[in-house]
């Protein structure tokens, strides 16, 4: 097989062989790593401050919220689902806990945290129930809950709660040994645990099976509905946690926090090689995609790219990444 491929590629020109590194691997992770190294070299050459510990502290802390959300949506997407409501769930969890913490000592901190997480889980449960039991397309369902939950956030629009609570303040701002942000530890721990679950437990393998072929999974006796609902609950939980980190980093609660996060997170997850139809994806890819997106935002600021052009670059990057992915996975005969 390898011989055959080598023979075939003999006649091709150098460009195609170089391009082949990107297009002919099975997972996008190696090409993502190469992409990141190229980017880092460009940024490092153009600005001395890019490759410094201080800068990376900033980069890691900045993508924390998106990273935590990405963990949940990755699980949902591997199972063939979709969750657009994460930004709104984060916003609701954030503002509700900020409002509860407004009066010092009125509600104990652990209660607030647990309440926020339970709320996120419940909203995920609602998403999951509508999607599996009523049978509405996940995109539409979460589009609807996105609007509804965001609307609920605005109930507290007049209040402008500031965070004076030590625990919440430290949650997203502290550094371990003054080098590693707490948020990075959360992300690494979450990603490692979730990838272990995906790889070594029956639940994890079932998620891949459902994403690959739902009917087959049903016929094989997997409880498809239950597992799908659980994935949405996980997504809601992480979104709520991301909301807590968000209010911690911003130091206040506002109803519009987390607006539009779903698209950013979607970009990261898709760039990381999670298939939109489900069945494919791993957390290493998502983590590197997170690094890429975070470093690009950071590096473009350092290179003094105009703010509006950054949007274009980000969009172009998403299109480029997904096109590579599509070329890589193209069927031999794509007829339609």
């Amino acid at each position: 097989m390898n011989n055959l491929e080598a023979k075939n590629s003999k006649g091709k020109n150098v460009f195609k062989r170089v391009f082949g590194i990107f297009t002919q691997t099975k997972t996008p992770t190696p090409s993502l790593i190469i992409l990141y190294i190229i980017m880092a070299v460009i940024f490092a050459v153009s600005n001395d401050n890019f490759l410094t510990i201080v800068n990376f502290k900033g980069i890691f802390n900045n993508f924390a919220v998106y990273g935590i959300m990405a963990a949940g949506i990755t699980i949902v997407m591997i199972a063939g689902g979709f969750d657009l409501s994460i930004g709104s769930i984060a916003g609701l969890a954030g503002i509700v806990s900020a409002v509860l913490l407004m009066k010092e000592g009125a509600v104990p901190t652990p209660v607030v945290v647990i309440l926020a997480l339970v709320m996120g889980g419940l909203l995920g449960l609602i998403n999951g129930l509508i999607i599996t039991k009523v049978g509405i397309n996940p995109i539409i369902t979460t589009l609807g809950t996105l609007a509804t939950i965001r609307g609920i956030c605005y109930f507290w629009a007049k209040l402008n709660p500031r965070i004076y609570n030590d625990f919440i303040e430290n949650l997203g701002r502290k550094f371990l040994g003054n080098v590693i942000p707490y948020t990075t530890i959360y992300i690494v721990v979450i990603f490692v645990i979730l990838s272990l679950i995906l790889k070594f437990t029956r639940f994890g393998r079932d998620i891949y099976t459902i994403g690959g072929n739902e009917n087959l999974a049903r016929l094989a006796g997997i409880k498809v509905d239950r597992i799908k609902i659980i994935t949405y609950i996980i997504s809601g939980l992480f979104a709520a946690f991301a909301g807590l980190v968000l209010i911690s980093q911003l130091g206040s609660g506002r109803p519009e926090y987390g607006d539009g996060a779903e698209l950013e997170v979607l970009t990261i997850v898709v760039l990381g090689g999670v298939a939109v139809g489900g069945g494919k994806g791993n957390f290493l890819g998502v983590f590197i995609a997170l690094l890429i997106i975070g470093s690009i935002s950071n590096g473009m600021v350092m290179m003094d790219v105009p703010v509006y052009l950054r949007m274009v670059v980000k969009g172009a990057l998403l299109v480029f990444a997904i096109s590579l992915d599509a070329i890589r996975n193209r069927r031999r005969l794509q007829l339609y």
Partner: protein, 333 residues
């Protein structure tokens, strides 16, 4: 045996009763009546049915509706275009920029439509030739278009005054009928004829139901999808021009979040995201319902965030009704 079961099926279908589209129009009529009556009771005066309310509402509906009709065709093939909002922003900035350079209004309209077609070609190329999932591809191009719009206008809003552009959104025919509504009606008629009376319409439905089968029966699946993406780009540009004309200003924020409104309207109209199902008239009803709901609730002085909640709930409720109706119909068979 077969025949009797077929006749039974027909009877059963009668029992199922009214079509989804008819249901939507009944809901629409009830809603309009409700808002008419409540406005009469609350203010002792008819605000809802006044010219001052209806004309702006219909003008606002028109550009959403034009895009929604074309998007319905695209959705029926099983693809989607989220880049319409970004397209509107770009078109609006481009138009204002060209006008500020002193270019003839008619030419500006042509250039903007050409830009829309180019954007459609780009989307179509990525989706049909490279085989990228259309949701993600168009989310990417959405931010590219909007970013270009911001770059063109440098983030500012620019005045756009020109007789041709003004007429596009604010002109009237026979003194009373606004021009954008006429455009909207023309688009409805054309798309209705395409979808219900032409060969290409049947093929569009067939592609949505089973692309493989339609390919095997000789349909140019990629070509039709490509064409619809181009239509969608052009329609979004036209919508952007109308919006620019209505607000007399070209700004990159135009059309922000519009893609979700349009997609909600189309889906409310009974089009399935997975393709193969949908009606132009259903989309018309969906657009009207969302707009009337927004207009009426605003008139009743209900706060914006309640309206947002109500919109989300209406969307989920209606789609849930479709699903339940469909599963019931299937169970009967």
């Amino acid at each position: 045996m077969a025949e009797t079961s077929f006749q039974e099926l027909k009877k059963e279908r009668k029992k199922v009763g009214i079509s989804n589209t008819l249901m939507l129009f009944i809901v629409l009529v009830i809603m309009i009546a409700f808002f008419g009556i409540t406005s009469q009771i609350k203010f002792d005066q008819q605000f809802f049915f006044s010219i001052l309310n209806l004309i702006p509402m219909l003008s606002n509906i028109s550009y959403i509706g034009i895009i929604a009709c074309i998007l319905t065709m695209l959705l029926i093939t099983g693809e989607i275009d989220f880049s319409i909002g970004g397209n509107i922003g770009l078109t609006s900035c481009l138009a204002a920029l060209l006008l500020s350079k002193g270019i003839n209004g008619g030419l500006v309209v042509l250039i903007c439509l050409a830009a829309g077609i180019l954007m459609g070609v780009f989307n179509g190329f990525i989706v049909t030739r490279l085989g990228v999932n259309s949701i993600i591809a168009t989310i990417g191009t959405m931010s590219i278009w909007r970013g270009i719009g911001y770059t063109l206008s440098n983030g500012e809003s620019m005045l756009a005054f020109n007789p041709v552009i003004d007429y596009l959104g604010r002109g009237t025919i026979f003194r009373y009928i606004p021009f954008p509504i006429v455009l909207f009606i023309i688009v409805i008629i054309i798309t209705y004829i395409i979808m219900n009376r032409s060969k290409i319409g049947r093929r569009i439905y067939a592609i949505g139901v089973n692309p493989m089968a339609s390919y095997l029966s000789g349909t140019n699946v990629k070509g039709i999808k490509f064409l619809l993406f181009i239509f969608c780009g052009a329609a979004a540009s036209l919508g952007g021009l109308i919006l620019t004309s209505l607000s007399a200003v070209g700004m990159p924020q135009h059309g922000q979040g519009l893609e979700l409104t349009v997609v909600s309207a189309v889906i409310l109209g009974g089009t399935a995201l997975s393709g193969g199902k949908g009606q132009i008239l259903g989309t018309l009803a969906g657009v009207l319902i969302l707009s009337v709901l927004y207009n009426g609730l605003t008139m009743l002085n209900i706060m914006y965030f309640y309206i947002q909640i109500i919109r989300g709930i209406v969307l989920i409720l209606v789609v849930a009704t479709y699903e339940i109706r469909q599963s019931r119909a299937l169970r009967r068979v």
